[in-house]
Amino acid sequence: MLRKVFFVSFLAVVTLGLLAPPAAAAEGRTPVFLDGTVIVADGRYVLTRNIVSGGGGSPVIDIAAGRVDLDLNGFTIYGAPGAPSILISALPVEVRIHDGTIFGGDLCIWRPAGSVGRMAVIEDVGCQDAPLNAIHLQDIENVAIRRNNIIDAGAGGIVVDSPGSVLVHGEITHNAIKRVKGDGIHVFLGFAMEIGHNQIELAGAGIPGLGNGIFLGDSVGSLLLENVISRASSDGIALRNSRGNKLFDNVVRMAFNNGIHVDFGSADNHLYRNVATDCGFFSGSGSGFLVEGSQNDLNNNTSNSNAACGLLFVGPANVLRANTALGNGLIAGACPPPPPCGPMFSPNSCDLTGGANVSGEPAAPNNMIAAPF
């Protein structure tokens, strides 16, 4: 009762503060210091202490206003089961949340599907022990999720999707994600997204098939660069129905399934200077690069020491140039021998289309595709 009463009083204070012209200064932020705070007025807010959820199925902080900057100010929010720690309402919001730590709550930060949100910025936030997705943003047009640390989530690390078919644009960069029981980063309907400089370890939490390092679904024109992905329990990087994306300088190691997987519906992607090694051993059939789609360009990639093939082409009309594939096929028979693998490739790589893929240059010396050793 005390909390609700105070919530009302706080609400009144916040609302009253809005009736007058806003203060203009570097400070002048409204302090947030109570569990169950509902922010109903645009403005800048700042935590002035740690806040512990009293339970009861309500978020610790509910952002129910359109334009809010919430500075966690180095403090910690302790959520409780039954609600997210921070809920962003399904309004046309422009929200920024930054500089603090969140423990628990069903999710650390959740913006559910609803009316189209304009922008969400989440920066320098630590999220730990969320039973569901750590950060889940839905139906937001523009996201910037930067420099966050996520560990031990019960589902995905950073999930950006759009049940309302909103194309999401923006960046997911410089995050460290570890031991999440889902995809490390999951983007659906990305459009000109940049996913870069993330470190993802144990996506899927070691449970086979549970999580990809990075999943990009139905996304176009996006950039995946310089991500480091280790021990994803499904694919290291998975593209589903995604076209015209560029993947470069990513490093994938020890994915349980494939290192980088471009599915049947994915085309026109450029994979450049990526590294996929030691993948596929848990599934027993994973390759460094599995390309099921068409018109993809693989250039200067390194795919060594994988369980099945280094480069496995299932789809036609892909191009490969100057790739390195050495020491693959470590699980005998995992990479099909020719036939059906086409004569272009040695047992390190396989073209199941019977030669419908094209090498941009002569196989040697530009492509180093050697027999397993």
């Binding site: 007058a20 203060a23 400070e27 932020r29």
Partner: protein, 403 residues
């Protein structure tokens, strides 16, 4: 009628200032639109709050953000500190001086000048420590300064574990004469005046006292963030910005001193003062008349105190028996509207009356007036009432200001 003739005189009259709130002076940390009247309070100005309005009392040139303020006893005189270096638009004296956040400035109303009053550097305050609360303990000239800092601060010998915390109140004693001691002050050996770790409960180190004034063994404090000080705070919720907190060192309790109505919690009370310490003395021109009703009542009229109106915010009336010197005790402890006049029901017999000015915020009362030479106590000051009005301690006038 007889009672009326015998009930006598005294000193001044006063009306009751029927503001529900005790007047205080405040300054915000940012431009702040208060909710009472929609006035925008600016951080380079000082405002008098009386429960119904915020009225400008001082506007500092150069528009520096003020973060410590104190009303001296001299009418119109102020001490303040700035949030960031400022030369007050070129008006700070000596010429060319730039005040740092660890300095204090004195506005001398009689000359209209702004003068460096405390050099933080010369007084041992390290750079990076900002004075964010101040009051003067004692007369304007010669009294000590009590200040607070915004960060843990080492001032030898108070270093390391003995360093001052942001909610401590720290005394500096003068090394020279006048209001400003030649700008050089020395940290007192007996410190801190208020130890934030020794209050009950201790003031959280995560909270900063950024406004303070004292009244005897009580202090009025403003905190920069919502602050828990059980049992009062959070029985009613934490003390939020805009809630002035009283620390009673005798009772060992925190309580609400006053809530600034209309103050948004997004703004910090960045400076706080209770007005001057010494409410002065009312002039010997009191008048008395019969009240219209009820029969037997009388009305007292008196003149304003010789002290500034910031210091003499209120008046008390003491009643004693003529011939029994001195037998006066508290009769009325707050002046009602209209000001400088009060209707009373006289006691039985022949009574005399004394009007005593009071600063409700400081909890100080002024002089009871002077007796004939040699007839009463030192300085010919009449003794305080017994009993006195509650929660007051006498602070005799500054003879320089109230001869």
């Amino acid at each position: 009628m007889r009672r009326l003739l015998l009930s006598l005189a005294v000193l001044g009259g006063g009306g009751w200032l029927a503001h529900a709130a005790t007047p205080v002076w405040v300054t915000p940390d940012v431009p702040t639109t208060e909710g009472l009247n929609g006035t925008t309070l600016l951080p380079w100005e000082i405002y008098r709050y009386d429960g119904v309005s915020y009225a400008v009392a001082l506007s500092v040139p150069g528009s520096p953000d003020l973060d410590a303020i104190h009303k001296l006893d001299a009418p119109g005189d102020w001490l303040f500190s700035v949030e960031s270096p400022s030369e007050l638009g070129g008006l700070l004296l000596p010429p060319g001086t730039i005040a740092e956040p660890r300095d204090l400035i004195w506005f001398d109303f009689s000359t209209g000048t702004y003068n460096l009053c405390m050099s933080g550097a010369a007084s041992g305050i390290p750079p990076g420590s900002n004075l964010d609360a101040v009051y003067k303990d004692g007369f304007d000239a010669g009294g000590s300064l009590v200040v607070s800092f915004d960060v843990p601060t080492d001032i030898p010998p108070f270093v390391g574990p003995a360093a001052f915390e942001p909610s401590d109140l720290v005394r500096f004693v003068p090394t020279g004469l006048g209001v400003c001691s030649g700008t050089v002050w020395t940290v007192a050996a007996a410190n801190p005046v208020v130890d934030a770790t020794a209050t009950a409960p201790p003031m959280p180190i995560s909270s900063n006292v950024d406004g303070a004034d004292d009244g005897g063994m009580k202090w009025v404090l403003a905190f920069d963030v919502p602050t828990d000080l059980p049992p009062t705070f959070p029985a009613a919720g934490p003390a939020t910005p805009g809630t002035l907190v009283e620390w009673d060192a005798v009772a060992g309790t925190f309580s609400t001193f006053e809530v600034l109505l209309g103050w948004p919690i997004s703004s910090i009370v960045d400076g706080l003062t209770c007005g001057g310490l010494r409410p002065g003395r009312v002039p010997t021109t009191m008048l008395m008349d019969k009240a219209v009703a009820p029969l037997g009542d009388v009305v007292l009229f008196w003149g304003a105190s010789c002290a500034s109106p910031e210091a003499a915010q209120d008046y008390e009336i003491y009643q004693g028996t003529i011939g029994s010197w001195y037998s006066h005790l508290a009769l009325v402890c707050t002046d009602a509207v209209p000001s400088l006049t009060e209707q009373i029901t006289p006691g039985a017999g022949s009574q005399y009356y004394l009007v005593v000015p009071k600063n409700r915020c400081k909890g100080s009362e002024g002089s009871y007036g002077r007796c004939s030479a040699g007839f009463c106590g030192a300085g010919d000051e009449r003794p305080v009432g017994a009993p006195q009005c509650p929660s007051v301690v006498q602070a005799l006038p500054d003879p320089a200001l109230c001869p």
